[in-house]
């Protein structure tokens, strides 16, 4: 067992780190030179280099957002923006350095790959260190690779779509990502191809004060289906790390894309992510978002319902433990008639944790015969725990059906006594109630992920409660 194991904090089993033995590590802080260096090391075409530099300007001009969570503790000068962990990506777990392989082993990624995944990308710091997809999918024309490789090998597709859903000017952190992005996934599903088992990307931060800025683009051609899953963890440090991803998705006519996140960052990570999908005629986009850990999360998966028949669903679970602020929600824009959306948000606050639901449903003029239902439920485990709901609904069309429901509940002493009277100890009783509370979402997950999510919650619950 490595020495790192001793550094684990509390119940967060992913909190270990291993020694750094990197090919390249940029200096701290963000300058024009750092951005140029990243682009040069990656051997990028000039349009991408220019795009990055333009984005850097946007980032520098924009003020910090003043709404949402408190971000005042982020020091952009104290962050490493680019770390290249290995010289070359592996197609075999044995090809990658032992300490990195050991990390993913401990997180159970190779085991999961063997059992129930169609493809895996493992990103460590700024780069994907391992990637593999089943051959039969390759033969069908499915592309699943890291974004840097995609830019080299499929420059035209990338150039066409990159930044088309989340422009660099979208928000300060999208600008930041656009300037310093590295890694992330590129997924292309050809017309009519259905990938029945999930593709997974795993994102791991190891270094202290690390900034991870992956960039993901998923294109699902007409009539195709894909379920993409991402997981994320980091070591527990006392100083802050920053994770700021951008995810763009296009679900073309009749396609269905499901994007599942089980994030479990350590308590020192600012997780500020922009995720947005466009759903075209009769397409379905589903975000399933499990937010555990992190110091602050601000994340509002969005769906633009572009054409008639499009459907957007956002199912999210947030667990705010001691000292955490989960500011999560959803954003749906109905741009066309006969479109449907559903938001189901479940949040749990424990100790001094704070969970906020922040959601926007917008029905644009002309988007008649639209339906939207929003439901957010909050569960409080302690007296000091906090929950807030900020639902915004903007309707500029008459023929729409909109439902909104919000509940706040506390774990009742009577429920606890009932479960404990059947032999379950207090923490198991709590976690069972919490698992039951989020069951409407876990039942949507493949079994392995549902089990994982419940297990993570049990870990969160196993500290002192009450």
């Amino acid at each position: 067992m490595s020495q790192a194991f001793e550094l684990e904090q509390g119940n967060y089993s992913a909190g270990f780190h291993v020694k750094e033995n990197y090919t390249f590590k940029s200096g701290k802080g963000l300058t024009r030179k750092v951005v140029e260096q990243i682009s040069e090391m990656k051997g990028e075409p000039s349009w991408m280099r220019d795009y990055r530099l333009k984005s850097l300007d946007l980032f520098e001009k924009r003020p910090m957002p003043t709404w949402g969570a408190d971000l005042s503790d982020i020091n952009f000068d104290d962050i490493f923006y680019y770390i290249k962990p290995v010289a070359q990506q592996g197609k075999n777990w044995d090809d990658i350095p032992a300490e990195i392989k050991d990390t993913f082993d401990r997180l159970g990624i190779p085991q999961a790959e063997q059992k129930y995944l169609a493809g895996v990308t493992a990103q460590y710091e700024s780069e994907a260190v391992y990637h593999k997809m089943r051959e039969d999918l390759e033969k069908l024309g499915v592309i699943f690779t890291d974004m840097d490789t995609a830019l080299r090998e499929y420059p035209d597709i990338v150039k066409e779509h990159f930044g088309s859903i989340v422009p660099a000017s979208d928000n300060k952190f999208a600008s930041l990502n656009s300037a310093v992005w590295s890694g992330g996934s590129f997924v292309y599903i050809p017309r009519g191809v259905r990938v029945e088992i999930p593709l997974q990307a795993y994102f791991r931060i190891n270094a202290q004060n690390m900034g991870q800025f992956e960039r993901t683009l998923i294109i699902a051609e007409p009539g195709s289906y894909v379920h993409y899953v991402e997981g994320c963890t980091a070591p527990s440090y006392t100083s802050n790390s920053l994770h700021s991803a951008v995810v763009e998705i296009k679900a073309m006519e009749g396609a269905r894309v499901r994007y599942t996140t089980i994030q479990n960052w350590s308590k020192n990570v600012y997780n500020l992510v922009t995720k947005r999908a466009a759903a075209y005629r009769d397409a379905t986009m589903e975000w399933v978002d499990g937010n555990l850990g992190s110091k602050v999360t601000m994340k509002y998966p969005a769906v633009l319902l572009m054409e008639p028949g499009a459907r957007g669903d956002v199912l999210s679970v947030a667990f705010a433990n001691d000292g955490m602020h989960q500011d999560a929600g959803a954003k749906i824009t109905h741009l066309a008639p006969h479109t449907t959306s559903q938001i189901l948000s479940k949040s749990v606050s424990k100790g001094t944790g704070r969970a906020s639901y922040r959601g926007l449903v917008r029905i644009n003029p002309g988007a008649h015969h639209t339906k939207s239902s929003v439901r957010c439920d909050a569960l409080l485990l302690d007296e000091n725990a906090r929950t807030d709901t900020y639902p915004t609904i903007r309707v500029e069309e008459n023929q729409t059906e909109i439902g909104h429901e919000a509940t706040v509940s506390k774990v009742g002493d009577d429920q606890l006594f009932y479960l404990m009277s059947r032999g379950l100890d207090e923490s198991e009783a709590y976690s069972l109630i919490v698992n039951g509370f989020i069951e409407p979402i876990t039942k949507e997950l493949p079994m392995e992920y549902a089990v994982e999510l419940n297990r993570l919650i049990q870990l969160e619950m196993s500290g002192s409660v009450g």
């Binding site: 009932y418 404990m420 009277s421 059947r422 032999g423 198991e428 069972l432 039951g436 069951e439």
Partner: protein, 275 residues
């Protein structure tokens, strides 16, 4: 040796208000005791205090089970000693299936009550426990469901969520059947049941009785005792057991009501001074 539940001079309050004012009672494995009495006499409180409901504060007295004073034990630890409470108002836990809950409970109860020196802390927090293989669990559960003639669809529903009154009570008995307590406290199991449901639930209880199970059956009415034949009948009034007898006492109560057993003012005062 048969397990014993021994209650000695038990006093308990809720929100500072005395409810139990010196209860003495012994229930052994294999015996059926009926505890009767008017509303508000403290019957339900007694069962809750024995099981360890933290809402109640024990101010005096002892509760011994299998030779241990269990008053300091958490409810889960008491359950793992094979004490069971069938609730008058079972709680619903949305999103948690009966099967999932019962498998966990069975695993927990099978771990038993480990002595303190083996790492068990007094709050009853458990470490890693042996799992019950899903196949074995399903077989066992199905056998119990067949015995109690419970419908199969039961096990995939959320615990008590949307259950009718009768279904809730049957679910309690199913839990009892599976967890195999040595002493079961049954709190107003007959309340809220119509005649048919009462018969079904009573027959279920009867299917579980035998030398390994002691029951303290709390009831307001005699009617359940037409099905479940108690060995002993106790009457509670103002937080004390004021009369004990055999089965004939229940019939006498049916005929005469409870009023004739009301303690005199002197007795009540004496009791109040005690508390």
């Amino acid at each position: 040796m048969a397990s014993e539940l021994v209650i000695k001079n038990l006093h308990a309050n809720i929100e500072g208000k005395p409810i139990l004012r010196g209860v003495n009672l012994t229930v052994r494995q294999g015996e059926i005791h009926a505890l009767m009495g008017p509303n508000g006499s403290g019957k339900s409180t007694l069962s809750n205090v024995i099981m360890g409901n933290p809402k109640y504060e024990v101010t005096e007295g002892e509760v011994w089970f299998k030779g241990e004073n269990i008053l300091e034990y958490s409810p889960d630890r008491r359950a793992r000693m094979r004490l069971f409470l069938a609730f008058q108002y079972p709680m619903s836990i949305p999103g948690v299936s009966v099967a999932n809950f019962l498998r966990r409970s069975l695993e927990a109860v099978r771990e038993g009550n480990k002595p303190v020196e083996e790492g068990e802390n007094p709050t009853g927090k458990m470490g890693k426990r042996k799992t019950v293989p899903p196949g074995e669990f399903r077989k066992l559960l199905q056998a119990k469901m067949k015995l109690l003639r419970v419908d199969n669809s039961f096990i995939n529903r959320s615990i008590n969520d949307g259950f009718s009154g009768g279904e809730k009570k049957r679910a309690e008995i199913l839990q009892m059947a599976l967890l195999e307590p040595e002493i079961a406290l049954m709190d107003e199991t007959d309340s809220g049941l119509d005649i048919d449901a009462l018969r079904i639930v009573s027959e279920s209880v009867n299917a579980l009785t035998g030398p390994d199970l002691g029951i303290l059956l709390i009831t307001h009415y005699q009617r359940m005792l037409n099905y479940i034949k108690p060995d002993y009948v106790h009457v509670m009034f103002n937080g004390r057991i004021v009369k004990s007898g055999g089965r004939e006492l229940a019939l006498e109560l049916e005929e005469k009501g409870y009023e004739w057993l009301r303690p005199t003012d002197d007795e009540v005062n004496e009791v109040t001074v005690d508390a």
